[in-house]
Symmetry: C2
Subunit: 215 residues, 2 copies
DNA sequence: GCAGGCTGACTAAGCGCTTGCTTATCGCTA
DNA sequence: TAGCGATAAGCAAGCGCTTAGTCAGCCTGC
């Protein structure tokens, strides 16, 4: 599956492998759709916007994709898969809830800053998905939330985290990370690492991990 | 100026006062636009959606408003004014940064939960405003951010808050509150007051207000 | 020589907004 | 109090344009 990248660069395809080999044109269209959906929203974007940003005629889009909605679905699916994987890897990186939390918050925050353009599409264009796709994506979102909740609950059960409402604290952590995609600006004063550093500190405070080192 | 309310109820107009008296029809159209913009986005909403939700013909919309964008602007402007006022009232409610922070976070959070429908339009449809309106709204948003930043910086200067990056902590507080509008569900397990209570606790932790009572 | 990428020209449907007209409400005059 | 002109709200119809998506045919690399 071709990776959706923030910049315009497109990975080379493998001309001899697989039956559904991603072409350069496919990736160009996806990249153009991400940019346009992020800037103007799904309904504010026309198929001509996407095609011409990819350097093609309007009809070329339909050689590679069934519909405009399919583009959104593929972007959304891929983005959610990346996020779920990144959260699971963070959770699996240690047995210590503190280390797990720091790994997840760091990767989650960095991802939503670095890939803020695609993350905006992924998080704010869900309503434009068709009902079937929406249900599928919602399941991935629930899984992401569950991973974070489990870390917080394990920390509370183990006596290293102290919060009166672990579920709401977990939701706040998720919320804080997602919203980075909304406000982050490339030309802003903070790098993605600056933000990740500070958000790790905030995460420890939110879950009430007293006197913990900041990794 | 007629108040934009979350539910469908419309305040009576005053048939003998003022030259620009808001009519019931005007308010019905605004309420319908809020619902529709929140559910489907500005570009996903047609003028026919709005008119028929308000029980009118498509043409009736243009008796009361210049364009679909004017509706969005009025909703956005009114929503931002309410938020700025609420933040300023919280800041003016005390001289103690801790009390100021708690007042602002409580009101801000409650508002974004209670009025989540209009808050979604206000926070997530900015890109659909025309450039002039966008600039105007951006100024209000900057003022809102500034109020919160000042409280955090005053607390740090006074030695009651402890955070390595007051500006980013202030942004995180704002971010957390705004994002409530995205995830809040009426049928969810928490009331707006439950969320406000917990978010007050989180706010104290985020700014590092040690051993403070949770009001 | 042909499969697949791609295009220009096209369609049906839907868009924001306008037009021409009817109806309701009002203060004012006879 | 009846009748009148003015004003504004509202509607049916539709204009000019844009939209997502289609299709027949043309290139190009294998």
């Amino acid at each position: 599956m071709s990776q959706i990248t923030e910049s315009g660069d497109v990975p080379d395809d493998h001309p001899t492998t697989g039956e559904t080999r991603p072409t350069i044109a496919r990736d160009r269209l996806i990249a153009a759709a991400v940019e346009s959906f992020a800037a103007k929203g799904f309904h504010g974007t026309t198929t001509r916007d996407i095609a011409s940003a990819a350097g093609m005629s309007p009809a070329a889009l339909y050689v590679h994709y069934k519909s405009k909605e399919e583009l959104l679905y593929l972007i959304s699916r891929s983005g959610h898969d990346v996020t779920l994987r990144l959260v699971r890897e963070g959770a699996a990186s240690s047995d210590d809830p503190v280390e797990q939390l720091l790994a997840v918050v760091r990767e989650f925050t960095m991802h939503h800053a670095r890939s803020h353009t695609s993350a905006r599409v992924v998080n704010y264009e869900l309503a434009a998905l068709n009902p079937e796709h929406y249900r599928e994506i919602s399941a991935v979102r629930r899984a992401i939330g569950q991973e974070i909740r489990q870390i917080v609950e394990a920390g509370v059960a183990g006596g290293v985290f102290h919060t009166s409402n672990p579920r709401m604290s977990a939701l706040a952590l998720l919320s804080l990370g997602v919203d980075v995609a909304r406000w982050y600006r490339e030309e802003g004063e903070w790098s993605d690492e600056d933000i990740a550093d500070h958000y790790c500190e905030l995460a420890l405070r939110i879950v009430g991990a007293h006197g913990q080192a900041t990794s």
